[in-house]
């Protein structure tokens, strides 16, 4: 044995022994390519070494297109790769290609029994899979022949040969494969499910497993083996630990709907609030006692948020509609007080409603972000033509409340000018100038000056229009107003702080 001490020689000796063995052996690398085969294997499969070396085994032996059996063989190889443990196939029906007389290839039905063993290097890393295969076709043939002879007496040997044991081994093997297949499929579904899932074990609710969605929602990994109180300390005081305790103690499932959870997705993060639909389902052991809890559910935060947003929007819409109705009601009642005849009332009421509506239109065009002062003035004065109205001033962006107020103010001023002032007839004109003053505390300064109209007199009473103008400027816009009823023409000056009016 001294000469065998050198490993190189040992390898040579072992290779020779491998080749000389009457048992068929074949070696696969971890990519399932054929890395070696002994003579017995080559004899059994009637292949040359050159034809097999380096080939992907599932291609070299494709079971003649029988995908079910090919899958069974590959599953066995994969089991060795995955677990590092030997895998046995008691019986496999697997056709192999044999050269025929015409020089082609014919698939020949064979039954095999195979063992696939891991071969590791010195550091324990899996390097090869060693297949030891036995052709049991004759045994199978015998079995099927005996199996059809139901009438005659049967010895114990008959029973063995007829394959009862073999049959059972085969069926157990099939069950095992099916169960493993099912288990893998379920596990995959569990891991990939869009909803979150976790399995908690024991009275302390120790994480046995959880899927990707669960880890994602909680912002955690590496919690397997920890109790829920250790893994999720930020959930303390929110009632969930107590619920789990109760489910474990009573065996009654618990269902939570739109349940609010505050959790920290990372140790230094601010807690976030999520809403979850979930169920805590007790898991019972074979004796019926609760051994764990299956947690599953899904994140409904988006749905809850959308519902809240919608509710807020509906409330806000309702508020605005009611306020608008109250505004319209006010216009109706106050207009009715200054108009005894229905026709006059209808005309004045409608024109005020239209003024309001026009400003709404301007605001809607810009998604209620604001409106330009000139656009509002143009709307209120366009009926009189450009030769009678002079608009002069810079672009001023008004916020929606200011736009609505100024829309009504200019409507009332234009109405008064049409009824009593420069726009009654003839060549009267209205000059409207505006500018922004005082840049530290910017104000919009507006001058409305009527020229060339009939002689006017101060009004004997303050009508709705005058009150509306005054209230809007002083109240809504926190501005100042002066009016001048000099005989040669009405004049109004007002200034409003842009902090109140503007979107500049």
């Amino acid at each position: 044995m001294k000469e065998l001490a050198k490993s190189g020689e040992l390898a040579v000796e072992l290779a020779a022994a491998f080749d000389a063995s009457p048992n068929a052996y074949m070696l696969l690398d971890v990519d399932l390519r054929i890395a070696g085969a002994n003579q017995a294997y080559l004899d059994l499969t009637q292949q040359s070494r050159e034809a097999l070396m380096g080939r992907y085994v599932m291609e070299a032996f494709d079971a003649g297109g029988d995908t079910g059996n090919a899958r069974m063989l590959r599953a066995s190889f994969e089991s060795v790769l995955r677990t590092g443990k030997a895998d046995h196939i008691a019986v496999i029906h697997y056709a192999i290609p044999l050269p025929d007389a015409a020089g082609g290839t014919t698939y020949v039905d064979r039954y095999w029994s195979a063992t696939h063993s891991p071969v590791t290097d010195a550091s324990g890393v899996l390097k090869y899979i060693l297949q030891h295969t036995t052709d049991i076709t004759e045994l199978e043939t015998l079995r099927s022949q005996v199996g059809t002879r139901e009438d005659g007496p049967r010895s114990a040997l008959d029973t063995i040969v007829s394959g009862r044991i073999l049959q059972r081994a085969e069926s157990i093997q099939q069950d095992r494969r099916r169960i493993e297949h099912e288990r893998n499929r379920l596990l995959e579904m569990f891991m990939q499910a869009p909803g979150f899932m976790a399995v908690l074990t024991g009275p302390d609710h120790v994480f046995e497993m959880h899927n990707a969605a669960y880890g994602q929602i909680l912002g955690r990994s590496n919690i397997i083996g920890q109790s829920i109180r250790e893994a999720l300390p930020d959930l303390a005081g929110q009632g969930y630990f107590e619920l789990l305790d109760a489910v474990f103690a009573t065996g009654e499932p618990y269902e939570g709907r739109r349940s609010q959870v505050r959790l920290k997705r990372a140790p230094d993060c601010e807690p976030v609030t999520v809403f979850l639909d979930f169920i805590y389902q007790p898991i019972r052991g074979s004796d019926g006692a609760v051994v764990g809890i299956f947690v599953q559910g899904h994140d409904v935060t988006d749905v809850v948020m959308a519902d809240e947003r919608q509710k807020l929007m509906i409330d806000e819409l309702n508020h605005r509609v009611k306020n608008t109705l109250a505004t319209v009601q006010s216009i109706a009642i106050q207009t009715s007080r200054s108009h005894a005849d229905p026709a006059g009332f209808a005309e004045a009421f409608q024109s005020r409603l239209l003024a309001l509506s026009h400003t709404h239109d301007l605001l809607t065009r810009r998604h209620w972000a604001g409106a330009d002062l000139r656009a509002i003035l143009e709307h209120e004065t366009e009926a009189h033509g450009p030769h009678r109205i002079s608009l002069n001033g810079p672009a001023v962006d008004l916020d929606p409340p200011a736009a609505l107020s100024l829309g009504m103010i200019f409507h009332e001023l234009a109405t008064n000018a049409t009824k009593y002032g420069a726009l009654t007839a003839g060549n009267g004109r209205v000059l409207i100038d505006w500018r922004l003053v005082d840049h530290a505390d910017p104000k919009l300064s507006v001058e409305w000056r009527e020229v060339g109209g009939p002689r006017i007199e101060p009004p004997t009473h303050r009508g709705f229009g005058s009150r509306l103008i005054e209230r809007n400027i002083r109240h809504d816009l926190a501005g100042e107003l002066t009016t001048d009823y000099s005989p040669d023409g009405f004049k109004a000056e007002f200034s409003i702080p842009m902090s109140k009016a503007g979107a500049i």
């Binding site: 605005r320 306020n323 709705f464 109240h475 809504d476």
Partner: protein, 125 residues
């Protein structure tokens, strides 16, 4: 009924000019004097503090983007009865104020009168 309200001084807190003007008109018709109308919380609080005679108040819940409850608190502390007006309905009020008389926009003169009478504890015969 109106004579009960005649001469009363009623504070109005309402930021919408047209609605404020309507309330003024309605109160005037009932023989009341309008204090304000205040168009923001600050002016409302000033009125509650400074007005010597204040018989009741009419408060818009949402005033210039703010809630009117500080004014309601000040009135309650002073023992002045008040009513809320709102576009949201009583459901929009916090529990603390839900028992107070509330009128919903748009409102009529008789709704304002009934609510004021209820707030002031006037029993109808």
């Amino acid at each position: 009924m109106s004579e009960v309200l005649s001469g009363r001084r009623i504070l109005v807190v309402e930021d919408e000019s047209l609605v404020a003007m309507l309330l003024e008109t309605i109160l005037e018709d009932m023989g009341c004097s309008t204090i304000g109308p205040a168009s923001n919380i600050e002016d409302g609080l000033t009125a509650v503090r400074d007005e010597i005679v204040l018989d009741a108040a009419l408060l818009d819940v949402n005033v210039a983007g703010q809630q009117v409850f500080p004014v309601a608190r000040a009135l309650a502390d002073r023992g002045v009865p008040f009513i809320f007006s709102t576009g949201y309905g009583a459901g929009g009020l916090p529990d603390e104020w839900r028992e107070r008389p509330t009128i919903q926009k748009p409102f009529t003169e008789s709704m304002v009168r009934e609510a004021l009478l209820a707030a002031m504890g006037v029993v109808r015969v």
